[in-house]
């Protein structure tokens, strides 16, 4: 479904990603693990087009997308949930969802307020609440829901467990499993190994902008050496 091969990305003169390759198959949850500043967000931004890779290829559903504008990539059914949430604080919940709305597409589940309410019960309670008046956890749910309104076949989820209360983390895990069940492929960035273990099928570990490990979650949990080297704080 999504293949990234050998991308290099820069911020100005700073070479951030070196030769990053990874792959997400249909219906799969893949986690990209790494410490602060390892390059997780940059990888996701390079896929969605907010950062333009200097070289390498990104292929989504059989089409090269590394030169396309973010809106065109999004319209192909690749959703992006930023780590800073970037909720429209002046807009109500329904209006936030409206911004994300796209026409239904084949081979991907279609979402509306009802269905999203089943996934995120909190949102159902507050359709007219302004984005700026919501708690961090609620905003985190809204930002995922907003992206789902585009009916994506695959979503890039940047650290959904970051900075939210433990109960919300559990709800996030629940929601990710729900999305997987609905048939949405997910590329997740995380620092929290425990959370990743709960939801993901496979893992990549990134460190200093390069992929250092690739394997199933079982392989990772069995490999204490890799965990100690790249994930221990």
């Amino acid at each position: 479904m999504l293949q990234i091969s050998k991308i290099h990305s820069y911020y100005g003169q700073a070479h951030i990603l070196t030769d990053v390759s990874l792959e997400v198959n249909a219906g799969e949850v893949v986690v990209l693990l790494g410490r602060n500043g390892a390059g997780k967000s940059t990888t996701l931004k390079s896929i969605i087009g907010l950062v333009r890779p200097a070289s390498g290829a990104v292929v989504f559903a059989g089409t090269r997308i590394e030169r396309l504008a973010p809106y065109r990539i999004a319209r192909m059914g690749l959703g992006y949930v930023p780590e800073e949430r970037r909720i429209f604080t002046d807009l109500s919940v329904l209006e936030n969802l409206e911004v994300g709305r796209q026409p239904p597409r084949a081979r991907a589940p279609t979402w509306d307020f009802e269905k999203l309410g089943a996934l995120f019960p909190n949102l159902r309670e507050m359709p007219d609440r302004l984005g700026g008046r919501m708690s961090g956890g609620e905003q985190q749910m809204l930002t995922i829901a907003r992206t789902l309104m585009g009916n994506p076949a695959c979503i890039l989820l940047d650290e959904p467990s970051e900075g939210v209360a433990p109960v919300i983390v559990d709800q996030m895990a629940e929601a990710i499993r729900g999305l997987k069940a609905a048939g949405v492929a997910i590329l997740l960035s995380e620092q929290n190994l425990h959370f990743a273990m709960e939801v993901a099928d496979r893992a990549y570990i990134i460190e200093k902008g390069g992929i250092r490990f690739e394997g199933t979650m079982q392989a990772l949990s069995a490999n204490a050496e890799v965990q100690a080297q790249y994930l221990a704080v």
Partner: protein
Amino acid sequence: MSPDAFAVQFLNGLASASTLFLIAVGLSLIFGVTRIVNFAHGSFYMLGIFVAYSLVTRIGDSPFGFWVSMLLAALVVAIVGLLVELVLLRRIYQAPELFQLLATFAVVLIVRDATLAIWGPEDLLGPRAPGLKGSVDILGRQFPTYDLVLICIGPAVLAALWFVLTRTRFGVLIRAATQDRDMVGALGVNQAWLFSGVFALGAFLAALGGALQLPREPANLGIDLVAIGEAFVVVVVGGMGSIPGAFLAAFIIAEIKAMCFAIGQTTLFGVSFSFSKLTLVVEFLVMAAVLIWRPWGLMGRPGAATRNAAEIEVPLKPADARTRKLGWVVLIALVLLPLVGTAFPYTIVLSIDILVAVLFATSLHFIMGPGGMHSFGHAAYFGLGAYGAGLLVKQLGWPMEGALAAAPVAAAVGALIFGWFCVRLSGVYLAMLTLAFAQIVWSIAFQWDELTGGSNGIVGLWPAEWLSEKWAYYYLTLTLTVAGVLLLWRVLLAPFGYALRAGRDSPLRADAIGIDVFHTQWMGFVLAGAVCGVAGGLFAFSKGSIAPEAISVGRSIDGLVMVLLGGIQTLSGPVVGAALFTWLQDLIAREFQYWRAALGFTILVLVLAFPLGVAGSIKRLFVKEVA
């Protein structure tokens, strides 16, 4: 003041508020979504009046025809706006803020000359609105019926906009994009069309505001800059991007102006004072007060206007041997110029103009580039220098040399006061406050007839005997210009200059390492003002006079164009830019009736072809990229 006069003036204020709101709201919407401060907005307003004139005089005999003409005029201008967006702005959304300003200013020049070519130079008085020619009785006074209709249109447009913004997908997207346009893009919305739509909508509203003025005032060529000035004030006072803010600010400003008219001449504490004369500055006083008290405007949001797209700059370096050599060649050529100049007397005159422009632009660059303070009112210090020197000669009988020496002092005192307020702000707000102060200086010069000679200015300011030959005055100008430019360069390469740039790039970190950012920027402001004052003094004595026209907003903008033309990131940029600009302007203005349009197209070509400015681009050719 009698209640009837008060009531009529109040209603007058409301009618003006409607128009003001129509112009300002589009400007605010456009800024909110695209982050472009659209100088050409006043031009859309002006086009609205002219197009409406053509339509109304053809099909506007019936009430139906009249109102259709109004809407059609707005529609035509909306299409013009759309074309501007598609052809020009789309290419420069990623460019630095100042380049965008410059590009939209080029549009102002082009539209002005296009209007001149199509409708001619005469004011065009439209017919009054059919069916609304009469007036109604307000407390025994007559008030035009049409103006009552106008009063209703403002709130009606506000309501319509509110509907669009809250009840339509387009509106929701506009509001979302005002907050975070990249996120809107990442959610699958094509921002380009959103931007075009907003731009066309803004142009439509401005043109509607213009068209509706047709029965009240003649279509006039100078109205574009007046309108944009007022609209800026309203948008800044209301808060950039806030629509209710624009409405509130339009109301407040229009009413304050109306009340100034209503009060008229009155005696305060035994001093006779004319409030109606105050109308030219009162909006700027309001803006200055609001910016000081609430820098983000009445209903704006802190930080909404800042844009962190500052380019990463190569540090300034002292000139290398080759550049120095080039500098010497230029200087020797300048010293030898009067030898050939005697054969072409005009060369000397033009060269003096160029040197004055160089000094003006270099001092502006000092605060804009390394200082990071984008002043839109540098003409103020030019004016203070010129008028300061002129007044000393005329009112106190000082000799020319003494007056010229006092010019920088006068300008520095002004910069000391204005700068204290300005350096607290940044970005667009700083630009607007500097503009406000410049406007205040201008209108004092314009209105205080007894002292400044009003619109005629001060005449008969001639150089001292020993400088009366043109070449002698040229050498004086050359000496002072070279000294001023070298002084500013020297300061920039000294610790003070480093501190100034540190304050620009990262105020917090500069603060943390012990730099007093406020005082550094303030003193930078004063130094630039003083040097600019010298330019003003030199200008006055070279022309033999100084008039308000020479210190109007046009001069501030010329300065910006010079700096950007040359390239803001190089020390030599303003020198090259000023010389090129002055020379081009002189050349085009002498040869060609439509010199404004020619200048506008030149600016556009330069902006699109040399995003680093001329000197910056040349430098890029020679200097290898530093890693």
